[in-house]
Symmetry: C2
DNA sequence: TTGCCTCTATCTATCAGTTGATAGGCTGGC
DNA sequence: GCCAGCCTATCAACTGATAGATAGAGGCAA
Protein backbone atom coordinates (compact mmCIF):
# COMPACT_ATOMS: atom_id res chain seq x y z
CA UNK A 1 0.00 0.00 0.00
CA UNK A 2 1.11 3.61 -0.64
CA UNK A 3 2.94 5.19 2.29
CA UNK A 4 0.77 7.38 4.50
CA UNK A 5 -2.16 5.06 3.93
CA UNK A 6 -3.51 3.34 6.99
CA UNK A 7 -4.18 -0.39 6.95
CA UNK A 8 -7.84 0.35 7.42
CA UNK A 9 -7.88 2.53 4.33
CA UNK A 10 -5.97 -0.08 2.36
CA UNK A 11 -8.57 -2.69 3.30
CA UNK A 12 -11.40 -0.41 2.20
CA UNK A 13 -9.62 0.35 -1.06
CA UNK A 14 -9.18 -3.33 -1.84
CA UNK A 15 -12.75 -4.06 -0.81
CA UNK A 16 -14.09 -1.28 -3.01
CA UNK A 17 -12.33 -2.61 -6.09
CA UNK A 18 -13.52 -6.16 -5.47
CA UNK A 19 -17.06 -5.25 -4.43
CA UNK A 20 -17.56 -3.01 -7.45
CA UNK A 21 -16.33 -5.79 -9.71
CA UNK A 22 -18.09 -8.75 -8.14
CA UNK A 23 -20.68 -7.65 -5.58
CA UNK A 24 -21.07 -8.49 -1.91
CA UNK A 25 -20.50 -12.22 -2.35
CA UNK A 26 -17.63 -11.55 -4.72
CA UNK A 27 -14.93 -10.81 -2.18
CA UNK A 28 -13.67 -12.53 0.96
CA UNK A 29 -11.68 -11.59 4.02
CA UNK A 30 -8.83 -13.73 2.77
CA UNK A 31 -8.70 -12.02 -0.61
CA UNK A 32 -8.69 -8.59 0.97
CA UNK A 33 -5.99 -9.69 3.41
CA UNK A 34 -3.85 -10.92 0.54
CA UNK A 35 -4.38 -7.67 -1.36
CA UNK A 36 -3.23 -5.64 1.61
CA UNK A 37 -0.47 -8.02 2.70
CA UNK A 38 -1.85 -9.12 6.06
CA UNK A 39 -3.77 -12.12 7.39
CA UNK A 40 -7.52 -12.49 7.33
CA UNK A 41 -7.75 -12.37 11.13
CA UNK A 42 -6.26 -8.89 10.99
CA UNK A 43 -9.01 -7.75 8.66
CA UNK A 44 -11.50 -8.90 11.27
CA UNK A 45 -9.65 -6.75 13.79
CA UNK A 46 -10.51 -3.63 11.78
CA UNK A 47 -13.97 -4.79 10.68
CA UNK A 48 -15.41 -7.45 12.99
CA UNK A 49 -18.00 -8.70 10.50
CA UNK A 50 -18.45 -8.50 6.77
CA UNK A 51 -21.52 -6.35 7.26
CA UNK A 52 -19.42 -3.86 9.24
CA UNK A 53 -16.96 -3.72 6.40
CA UNK A 54 -19.60 -3.25 3.72
CA UNK A 55 -21.30 -0.57 5.77
CA UNK A 56 -18.07 1.37 6.24
CA UNK A 57 -17.43 0.93 2.53
CA UNK A 58 -20.80 2.36 1.51
CA UNK A 59 -20.41 5.26 3.96
CA UNK A 60 -17.03 6.20 2.58
CA UNK A 61 -18.26 5.76 -0.98
CA UNK A 62 -21.21 8.07 -0.47
CA UNK A 63 -19.03 10.68 1.24
CA UNK A 64 -16.49 10.56 -1.59
CA UNK A 65 -19.21 10.90 -4.21
CA UNK A 66 -20.88 13.87 -2.52
CA UNK A 67 -17.47 15.45 -2.04
CA UNK A 68 -16.75 15.03 -5.74
CA UNK A 69 -20.11 16.58 -6.62
CA UNK A 70 -19.46 19.60 -4.42
CA UNK A 71 -21.83 22.30 -3.29
CA UNK A 72 -22.50 23.89 -6.65
CA UNK A 73 -26.10 22.95 -7.44
CA UNK A 74 -26.62 25.25 -10.44
CA UNK A 75 -28.56 23.04 -12.80
CA UNK A 76 -26.49 22.76 -16.02
CA UNK A 77 -23.15 22.55 -14.22
CA UNK A 78 -24.54 20.19 -11.58
CA UNK A 79 -25.76 17.77 -14.21
CA UNK A 80 -22.39 17.79 -15.92
CA UNK A 81 -20.73 17.02 -12.60
CA UNK A 82 -23.03 14.08 -11.95
CA UNK A 83 -22.44 12.74 -15.43
CA UNK A 84 -18.69 13.04 -14.88
CA UNK A 85 -19.00 10.91 -11.73
CA UNK A 86 -20.58 8.04 -13.62
CA UNK A 87 -18.46 8.52 -16.72
CA UNK A 88 -15.35 8.00 -14.66
CA UNK A 89 -16.67 4.62 -13.57
CA UNK A 90 -17.77 3.68 -17.08
CA UNK A 91 -14.35 4.41 -18.51
CA UNK A 92 -12.77 2.05 -16.00
CA UNK A 93 -15.49 -0.57 -16.47
CA UNK A 94 -16.23 -0.33 -12.77
CA UNK A 95 -19.74 -0.52 -11.41
CA UNK A 96 -21.18 2.00 -9.03
CA UNK A 97 -20.89 0.42 -5.57
CA UNK A 98 -24.56 1.11 -4.94
CA UNK A 99 -25.53 -0.75 -8.09
CA UNK A 100 -23.08 -3.58 -7.53
CA UNK A 101 -24.50 -4.26 -4.07
CA UNK A 102 -28.08 -3.33 -4.84
CA UNK A 103 -28.38 -5.83 -7.68
CA UNK A 104 -28.22 -8.65 -5.15
CA UNK A 105 -29.91 -6.66 -2.44
CA UNK A 106 -32.17 -9.53 -1.43
CA UNK A 107 -29.38 -11.38 0.33
CA UNK A 108 -27.54 -8.39 1.74
CA UNK A 109 -27.40 -7.77 5.48
CA UNK A 110 -30.33 -5.39 6.07
CA UNK A 111 -28.13 -2.51 7.19
CA UNK A 112 -26.05 -2.77 4.03
CA UNK A 113 -29.11 -2.87 1.82
CA UNK A 114 -30.57 0.27 3.34
CA UNK A 115 -27.22 1.99 3.03
CA UNK A 116 -27.16 1.19 -0.67
CA UNK A 117 -30.71 2.49 -1.04
CA UNK A 118 -29.66 5.66 0.73
CA UNK A 119 -26.96 6.32 -1.85
CA UNK A 120 -29.29 6.78 -4.81
CA UNK A 121 -31.54 8.96 -2.66
CA UNK A 122 -28.55 11.14 -1.90
CA UNK A 123 -27.88 11.66 -5.60
CA UNK A 124 -31.51 12.44 -6.38
CA UNK A 125 -31.71 14.90 -3.48
CA UNK A 126 -28.48 16.52 -4.57
CA UNK A 127 -30.01 17.19 -7.97
CA UNK A 128 -33.21 18.50 -6.40
CA UNK A 129 -31.15 20.99 -4.40
CA UNK A 130 -30.83 23.14 -7.51
CA UNK A 131 -33.06 26.19 -7.09
CA UNK A 132 -34.67 25.60 -10.49
CA UNK A 133 -34.13 21.84 -10.69
CA UNK A 134 -37.40 20.84 -12.34
CA UNK A 135 -37.25 23.54 -14.99
CA UNK A 136 -33.55 23.56 -15.83
CA UNK A 137 -32.88 19.82 -16.05
CA UNK A 138 -33.66 17.95 -19.29
CA UNK A 139 -35.30 15.12 -17.32
CA UNK A 140 -36.53 14.69 -13.72
CA UNK A 141 -33.83 13.90 -11.13
CA UNK A 142 -35.16 10.37 -10.50
CA UNK A 143 -34.98 9.66 -14.22
CA UNK A 144 -31.48 11.08 -14.55
CA UNK A 145 -30.06 8.99 -11.70
CA UNK A 146 -31.84 5.83 -12.90
CA UNK A 147 -30.57 6.41 -16.42
CA UNK A 148 -26.98 6.94 -15.29
CA UNK A 149 -27.12 3.85 -13.08
CA UNK A 150 -28.63 1.72 -15.85
CA UNK A 151 -26.31 3.02 -18.53
CA UNK A 152 -23.33 2.21 -16.32
CA UNK A 153 -24.67 -1.25 -15.50
CA UNK A 154 -25.17 -2.18 -19.14
CA UNK A 155 -21.94 -0.56 -20.23
CA UNK A 156 -19.98 -2.59 -17.65
CA UNK A 157 -21.84 -5.77 -18.57
CA UNK A 158 -21.07 -5.25 -22.24
CA UNK A 159 -17.59 -3.88 -21.47
CA UNK A 160 -18.30 -1.10 -23.93
CA UNK A 161 -17.84 2.39 -22.54
CA UNK A 162 -19.29 3.82 -25.75
CA UNK A 163 -22.66 2.32 -24.86
CA UNK A 164 -22.67 4.55 -21.80
CA UNK A 165 -22.15 7.62 -23.95
CA UNK A 166 -24.84 6.59 -26.43
CA UNK A 167 -27.38 5.92 -23.71
CA UNK A 168 -26.90 9.20 -21.85
CA UNK A 169 -26.79 11.41 -24.95
CA UNK A 170 -30.29 12.84 -24.30
CA UNK A 171 -28.93 14.34 -21.06
CA UNK A 172 -26.77 16.71 -23.07
CA UNK A 173 -29.36 17.73 -25.64
CA UNK B 1 -43.29 -28.66 -8.65
CA UNK B 2 -46.50 -28.26 -10.68
CA UNK B 3 -47.50 -31.38 -12.56
CA UNK B 4 -46.45 -31.46 -16.19
CA UNK B 5 -43.30 -29.55 -15.33
CA UNK B 6 -40.05 -31.36 -15.99
CA UNK B 7 -37.37 -31.50 -13.35
CA UNK B 8 -35.13 -29.50 -15.64
CA UNK B 9 -37.72 -26.74 -15.85
CA UNK B 10 -38.24 -26.82 -12.10
CA UNK B 11 -34.50 -26.36 -11.58
CA UNK B 12 -34.45 -23.41 -13.97
CA UNK B 13 -37.45 -21.86 -12.25
CA UNK B 14 -35.82 -22.12 -8.85
CA UNK B 15 -32.54 -20.82 -10.22
CA UNK B 16 -34.24 -17.86 -11.85
CA UNK B 17 -35.88 -16.77 -8.61
CA UNK B 18 -32.68 -17.08 -6.65
CA UNK B 19 -30.40 -15.56 -9.29
CA UNK B 20 -32.66 -12.57 -9.78
CA UNK B 21 -32.74 -12.02 -6.03
CA UNK B 22 -29.09 -12.60 -5.20
CA UNK B 23 -26.96 -12.82 -8.34
CA UNK B 24 -24.66 -15.54 -9.62
CA UNK B 25 -22.97 -16.14 -6.28
CA UNK B 26 -26.29 -15.98 -4.50
CA UNK B 27 -27.52 -19.47 -5.22
CA UNK B 28 -26.05 -22.94 -4.90
CA UNK B 29 -26.69 -26.40 -6.26
CA UNK B 30 -27.85 -27.53 -2.85
CA UNK B 31 -30.36 -24.72 -2.49
CA UNK B 32 -31.80 -25.41 -5.92
CA UNK B 33 -31.97 -29.12 -5.15
CA UNK B 34 -33.86 -28.42 -1.94
CA UNK B 35 -36.25 -26.09 -3.77
CA UNK B 36 -37.05 -28.78 -6.31
CA UNK B 37 -37.03 -31.68 -3.88
CA UNK B 38 -34.05 -33.60 -5.21
CA UNK B 39 -30.37 -33.92 -4.29
CA UNK B 40 -27.59 -31.65 -5.50
CA UNK B 41 -25.95 -34.42 -7.50
CA UNK B 42 -29.14 -34.66 -9.54
CA UNK B 43 -28.91 -31.00 -10.42
CA UNK B 44 -25.45 -31.68 -11.78
CA UNK B 45 -26.98 -34.42 -13.90
CA UNK B 46 -29.10 -31.84 -15.74
CA UNK B 47 -26.50 -29.06 -15.69
CA UNK B 48 -22.95 -30.38 -15.31
CA UNK B 49 -21.47 -27.07 -14.18
CA UNK B 50 -22.83 -23.87 -12.72
CA UNK B 51 -21.87 -22.01 -15.89
CA UNK B 52 -23.98 -24.45 -17.92
CA UNK B 53 -26.92 -23.75 -15.66
CA UNK B 54 -26.53 -19.97 -15.81
CA UNK B 55 -26.17 -20.09 -19.57
CA UNK B 56 -29.33 -22.14 -20.00
CA UNK B 57 -31.04 -19.77 -17.61
CA UNK B 58 -30.07 -16.68 -19.60
CA UNK B 59 -31.10 -18.35 -22.85
CA UNK B 60 -34.53 -19.22 -21.55
CA UNK B 61 -34.91 -15.79 -19.97
CA UNK B 62 -34.12 -14.01 -23.22
CA UNK B 63 -36.48 -16.27 -25.17
CA UNK B 64 -39.29 -15.68 -22.68
CA UNK B 65 -38.75 -11.92 -22.79
CA UNK B 66 -38.76 -11.74 -26.59
CA UNK B 67 -41.80 -13.96 -26.64
CA UNK B 68 -43.58 -11.63 -24.23
CA UNK B 69 -42.64 -8.65 -26.38
CA UNK B 70 -44.01 -10.29 -29.50
CA UNK B 71 -43.63 -9.29 -33.10
CA UNK B 72 -45.57 -6.04 -32.99
CA UNK B 73 -42.90 -3.36 -33.36
CA UNK B 74 -45.19 -0.39 -33.91
CA UNK B 75 -43.51 2.31 -31.85
CA UNK B 76 -46.04 3.47 -29.25
CA UNK B 77 -47.41 0.00 -28.57
CA UNK B 78 -43.94 -1.54 -28.59
CA UNK B 79 -42.71 0.86 -25.95
CA UNK B 80 -45.69 0.12 -23.73
CA UNK B 81 -44.97 -3.57 -24.08
CA UNK B 82 -41.35 -3.13 -23.06
CA UNK B 83 -42.35 -1.01 -20.09
CA UNK B 84 -44.83 -3.69 -19.05
CA UNK B 85 -42.02 -6.26 -19.05
CA UNK B 86 -39.98 -4.26 -16.56
CA UNK B 87 -42.97 -3.08 -14.56
CA UNK B 88 -43.90 -6.69 -13.87
CA UNK B 89 -40.47 -7.24 -12.34
CA UNK B 90 -40.60 -3.99 -10.37
CA UNK B 91 -43.94 -4.87 -8.85
CA UNK B 92 -42.51 -8.15 -7.58
CA UNK B 93 -39.28 -6.51 -6.45
CA UNK B 94 -37.41 -8.88 -8.73
CA UNK B 95 -34.36 -7.80 -10.67
CA UNK B 96 -33.95 -8.36 -14.38
CA UNK B 97 -31.76 -11.47 -14.70
CA UNK B 98 -29.46 -9.58 -17.03
CA UNK B 99 -28.95 -6.83 -14.47
CA UNK B 100 -28.64 -9.21 -11.55
CA UNK B 101 -25.85 -11.12 -13.27
CA UNK B 102 -24.30 -8.17 -15.08
CA UNK B 103 -23.75 -6.20 -11.90
CA UNK B 104 -21.07 -8.68 -10.88
CA UNK B 105 -20.03 -9.43 -14.42
CA UNK B 106 -16.34 -9.27 -13.62
CA UNK B 107 -16.36 -12.65 -11.88
CA UNK B 108 -18.85 -14.37 -14.14
CA UNK B 109 -17.79 -17.27 -16.35
CA UNK B 110 -17.03 -15.55 -19.68
CA UNK B 111 -19.82 -17.31 -21.55
CA UNK B 112 -22.36 -16.19 -18.98
CA UNK B 113 -21.14 -12.63 -19.09
CA UNK B 114 -21.46 -12.41 -22.84
CA UNK B 115 -24.89 -13.97 -22.65
CA UNK B 116 -25.97 -11.27 -20.22
CA UNK B 117 -24.54 -8.60 -22.50
CA UNK B 118 -26.46 -10.13 -25.38
CA UNK B 119 -29.76 -9.69 -23.56
CA UNK B 120 -29.68 -5.91 -23.44
CA UNK B 121 -28.63 -5.85 -27.08
CA UNK B 122 -31.67 -7.94 -27.91
CA UNK B 123 -33.98 -5.42 -26.24
CA UNK B 124 -32.33 -2.47 -27.97
CA UNK B 125 -32.52 -4.19 -31.33
CA UNK B 126 -36.13 -5.12 -30.74
CA UNK B 127 -36.92 -1.43 -30.25
CA UNK B 128 -34.93 -0.49 -33.34
CA UNK B 129 -37.02 -2.93 -35.40
CA UNK B 130 -39.86 -0.42 -35.43
CA UNK B 131 -40.05 1.13 -38.90
CA UNK B 132 -40.02 4.66 -37.46
CA UNK B 133 -38.16 3.93 -34.24
CA UNK B 134 -36.03 7.05 -34.02
CA UNK B 135 -38.91 9.41 -34.77
CA UNK B 136 -41.74 7.77 -32.85
CA UNK B 137 -39.96 6.96 -29.57
CA UNK B 138 -39.63 9.66 -26.90
CA UNK B 139 -35.98 8.71 -26.33
CA UNK B 140 -33.40 6.65 -28.23
CA UNK B 141 -33.64 2.85 -27.75
CA UNK B 142 -30.32 2.65 -25.87
CA UNK B 143 -31.55 5.30 -23.46
CA UNK B 144 -34.90 3.61 -22.95
CA UNK B 145 -33.39 0.24 -22.12
CA UNK B 146 -30.75 1.76 -19.84
CA UNK B 147 -33.42 3.79 -18.06
CA UNK B 148 -35.68 0.79 -17.55
CA UNK B 149 -32.79 -1.30 -16.27
CA UNK B 150 -31.59 1.44 -13.92
CA UNK B 151 -35.07 2.29 -12.67
CA UNK B 152 -35.66 -1.38 -11.89
CA UNK B 153 -32.28 -1.73 -10.16
CA UNK B 154 -32.88 1.26 -7.89
CA UNK B 155 -36.49 0.35 -7.29
CA UNK B 156 -35.50 -3.14 -6.15
CA UNK B 157 -32.66 -1.78 -4.02
CA UNK B 158 -35.01 0.66 -2.34
CA UNK B 159 -37.88 -1.84 -2.34
CA UNK B 160 -40.14 0.90 -3.58
CA UNK B 161 -42.02 0.07 -6.75
CA UNK B 162 -43.24 3.66 -6.92
CA UNK B 163 -39.70 4.83 -7.57
CA UNK B 164 -39.81 2.80 -10.78
CA UNK B 165 -42.94 4.62 -11.92
CA UNK B 166 -41.51 8.02 -11.02
CA UNK B 167 -38.26 7.38 -12.87
CA UNK B 168 -39.83 6.15 -16.10
CA UNK B 169 -42.55 8.83 -16.27
CA UNK B 170 -40.83 10.69 -19.14
CA UNK B 171 -41.30 7.58 -21.29
CA UNK B 172 -45.05 8.14 -21.28
CA UNK B 173 -45.02 11.90 -21.87
C1' DT C 1 17.85 3.70 34.25
C1' DT C 2 15.34 -0.26 35.02
C1' DG C 3 11.36 -2.82 35.31
C1' DC C 4 6.58 -3.41 34.59
C1' DC C 5 2.06 -2.57 32.57
C1' DT C 6 -1.17 -1.67 28.93
C1' DC C 7 -2.80 -0.99 24.48
C1' DT C 8 -2.61 -1.76 19.53
C1' DA C 9 -2.04 -4.49 15.83
C1' DT C 10 -0.73 -8.31 14.10
C1' DC C 11 -0.01 -13.32 14.01
C1' DT C 12 -1.00 -18.80 14.12
C1' DA C 13 -4.25 -22.16 14.42
C1' DT C 14 -8.60 -23.71 14.18
C1' DC C 15 -13.67 -24.09 13.79
C1' DA C 16 -18.09 -25.51 11.59
C1' DG C 17 -20.49 -24.72 7.55
C1' DT C 18 -20.88 -24.25 2.57
C1' DT C 19 -19.32 -24.60 -2.10
C1' DG C 20 -18.94 -26.92 -6.92
C1' DA C 21 -17.94 -31.17 -8.42
C1' DT C 22 -17.18 -36.37 -8.93
C1' DA C 23 -17.50 -41.54 -8.43
C1' DG C 24 -20.25 -45.06 -8.26
C1' DG C 25 -24.65 -47.54 -6.88
C1' DC C 26 -29.76 -48.38 -7.29
C1' DT C 27 -34.19 -48.64 -9.86
C1' DG C 28 -37.91 -48.66 -12.94
C1' DG C 29 -39.50 -48.38 -17.69
C1' DC C 30 -38.65 -49.48 -22.47
C1' DG D 1 -30.29 -55.68 -20.78
C1' DC D 2 -29.88 -51.02 -21.09
C1' DC D 3 -30.06 -46.51 -19.78
C1' DA D 4 -32.20 -42.22 -18.03
C1' DG D 5 -32.65 -40.29 -13.75
C1' DC D 6 -32.04 -40.22 -9.41
C1' DC D 7 -29.45 -41.51 -5.22
C1' DT D 8 -25.42 -41.86 -1.28
C1' DA D 9 -21.04 -40.64 -0.11
C1' DT D 10 -17.26 -38.06 -0.51
C1' DC D 11 -13.75 -34.63 -1.96
C1' DA D 12 -10.74 -30.45 -1.68
C1' DA D 13 -11.34 -25.75 -1.45
C1' DC D 14 -13.15 -21.83 0.52
C1' DT D 15 -16.15 -19.11 3.72
C1' DG D 16 -16.85 -15.92 7.95
C1' DA D 17 -15.52 -16.02 12.38
C1' DT D 18 -13.06 -16.91 16.93
C1' DA D 19 -9.42 -17.93 20.54
C1' DG D 20 -5.32 -17.10 22.10
C1' DA D 21 -0.22 -16.03 21.51
C1' DT D 22 3.12 -12.50 20.26
C1' DA D 23 5.63 -8.30 19.35
C1' DG D 24 6.37 -3.58 19.95
C1' DA D 25 5.43 1.17 21.47
C1' DG D 26 4.56 4.25 25.12
C1' DG D 27 3.75 5.60 29.85
C1' DC D 28 5.05 5.54 34.52
C1' DA D 29 6.75 4.50 39.03
C1' DA D 30 10.78 3.12 41.88
Amino acid sequence: MPSGETVREAILNAAEVRARAAGYNGFSFRELAADVGIKSASVHYHFPTKADLALALMDRYRAKALDFLGEQHDAPAALERLIALFRLAAMQSEMCLCGALGASSQDLPPAVQSSAAQFSDALVNWLYAAPDAKAALPLPPETIVALLEGALLLSVTKQRADFFEAAIRPLSA
